[in-house]
Amino acid sequence: MTQIRPASSEQPWAAPEEEPIVRIDKVTKTFGSTYAVDEISLNIHRGEFFSLLGASGCGKTTLLRMLGGFETPTSGRIYIDGQDVTDVPPYLRPINMMFQSYALFPHMNVAQNIAFGLKQERMPSALIRERVAEVMALVQIEKLATRKPHQLSGGQRQRVALARALAKQPKILLLDEPLGALDKKLREHTQFELVNIQERLGITFIIVTHDQEEAMTMSSRIALMHDGRIEQVDAPRRMYEFPATRYAASFIGSVNLFNGHVVSHENDMVLIHSEEAGSDLLVHHSQPLNPGMEVTVAIRPEKIAVRDHHGDDPNSIHGIIQEIAYLGDVSIYHVELPSGKRVQFTQSNVLALAEQPLTWGQEVALNWNAYSCGVLTQ
């Protein structure tokens, strides 16, 4: 997974004294007896590219629609720039939204669509023309000004929708699955472009997506949602390397999970006994854990290394290769441990013509570093 954003970019969320641009305070939304959003509190800071990530039905779109003003929270408050906007209608919020279906007005041409929001502000028409030309240049659709939406391709419509939402220079731009309708190639290209535009304009972007790769690539931070609640809020890298819950670990990327119990915890090192793994596991972990506690150890497939002999040291397992998936850049190996537990590990295919050292039915010894895995208690 590539990350476009430089790792050194500022981290406004690490400065708690600054007033967040969006403050969601214990917001709940029920439809009948189902909790679409269940008491969520969340701060989003100026200039962030923030992703609400989750499977369909997790409440991410409902949360976004509440920010836009299209749904009213059942309880809780929403503040934008310090102002309570919970009961403010959409047309008075300093927010614009790019809809999943794009919602372009079919009876207006591209320029009229983009000018629509500016006209509502009663902006002088010379200024409107100028601003429309500006945003059309920004998303490179200058030549489409007089086309009607039905004459545009999917990618062009997406750009028009983006231009229309940006034209009013909102403080916050909401994007509901902005790349969902595009094909894979175009999606990857557009991801980069969205990030570039966001960085150029400095507008806070809040995006809803079910695509973890998309969220990882573009976001400054991700909120992973599950069943109307937030599982974890973190920067993409931390989200991947240090998932907070079992759900977070398995939703983003692939992971091997070993259940076990704590044997001891000394000097930030936890020793865990796991029947499944058939080995003691040693994990770096700074939060205190009591001996005997049931925990799960998470280790990513790419962090598992093959060694030439099986040892008795911690984090060493062995098993038989059952399946191999060749993906080009990497191969994924499925290994069955003596306990019956299946483990995945990956290896980069560095050499083009090298004879495969690993093959079906072969016994392999594997191990990993205590700093490469994590302990999950939830």
Partner: protein
């Protein structure tokens, strides 16, 4: 399959009648029940009236063996142009049709919009209420308006009993009565197509408009109204066209000064027995009505393309 085999197969398929039948059925219907009768009417309109059965002289006649004379009479058309009565009647019909259509829109649009916005399980019952009057004979419903509108009718009784007026209002046999009758009778024809258009409107378009700063009234004017133009046009045509030729309502509710082309046609056909003149009148009316219809079709097609 080989190339030439495929081609042969396609040729044979093209010759099979199945597809042609389906496409041709409406055309056949149109030819049999519209074009053919209209040609008869056109033919009669070029004949000369006579006191006989049928009351016109055929303009193609065989005098002797093999000798055929054709005598076309354009006098009827000339008369329609020269005699102010017919122009006034055409104008009168146009006026009544246009104003009635306007009032139908004024009443029907909110009705259609309300039904389209109603919860799904309410829509069917509400539509049924709109269609319900059709279950009673049109004639009886128009007669009922006589009972309501006449000087000692229900309406005047009611208004006098609550003390709003002390003299009965003269409504029956005035243009007002015709307007009431027409708007009442043709309202469903406008509500139904308009509803069909409004219920299909994409709600996210309104959300997008709201998001971009449009207040509810502005959302209606800039999104809902322009998007419903196809429904407005279809509904208006369904009211305007039949009202132009309406005969029963002006005859029953209107007075002697209500001049409409349908009434005039009736008089020419049945009272004056001047079939050629009446036919000329019918032909002119048809041509006048076909123009807006063709324009509407054109617009509808364009709108349909946009919605795709």
């Amino acid at each position: 399959m080989n190339g030439w085999l495929l081609q042969l197969n396609n040729r044979i398929r093209a010759l099979l009648p199945g597809k042609g039948l389906i496409v041709g059925a409406p055309w056949f219907w149109l030819a049999l029940f519209f074009v053919l009768p209209f040609l008869f009417v056109l033919k009669i309109s070029l004949a000369e009236p006579q006191l006989a059965q049928p009351p016109y002289q055929d303009w193609i006649r065989e005098i002797e063996d093999g000798l055929i004379t054709i005598k076309l009479n354009f006098g009827n058309y000339a008369m329609l142009w020269e005699d102010e009565l017919y122009r006034d009647a055409l104008w009168g019909s146009f006026e009544i049709a246009a104003i009635s259509t306007f009032f139908c829109l004024l009443i029907g649009y909110p009705m259609a919009y309300a039904i389209a916005l109603a919860p799904t399980h309410w829509r069917m019952p509400l539509l049924m209420l709109v269609i319900l009057p059709f279950w009673t004979s049109f004639l009886i419903r128009v007669y009922a308006w006589i009972g309501i509108l006449k000087n000692n009718g229900l309406l005047n009784h009611f208004l006098m009993s609550i003390g709003l007026i002390d003299q009965p209002l003269e409504i029956l046999h005035t243009p007002t009565a015709v307007y009431i009758g027409v708007v009442y009778s043709y309202l469903p024809f406008l509500v139904l197509p308009l509803y069909a258009t409004l219920v299909r409107l994409d709600n996210t378009l309104l959300e997008a408009a709201a998001d971009l700063g449009a207040r509810p009234w502005k959302q209606f004017l800039t999104i809902t109204l322009p998007q419903s133009v196809p429904g407005i046009l279809a509904g208006s045509m369904l009211v305007f066209i039949p009202v132009m030729g309406e005969f029963v309502i002006p005859d029953l509710l209107g007075g002697p000064d209500t001049l409409m082309i349908g009434k005039l046609m009736w008089t020419e056909f049945f009272s004056n027995k001047d079939w050629p003149l009446a036919s000329a009148l019918a032909s002119v009316l048809l041509v006048v009505l076909i123009i807006p219809f063709v324009l509407m079709r054109h617009y509808e097609q364009k709108a349909a393309e946009e919605l795709k």
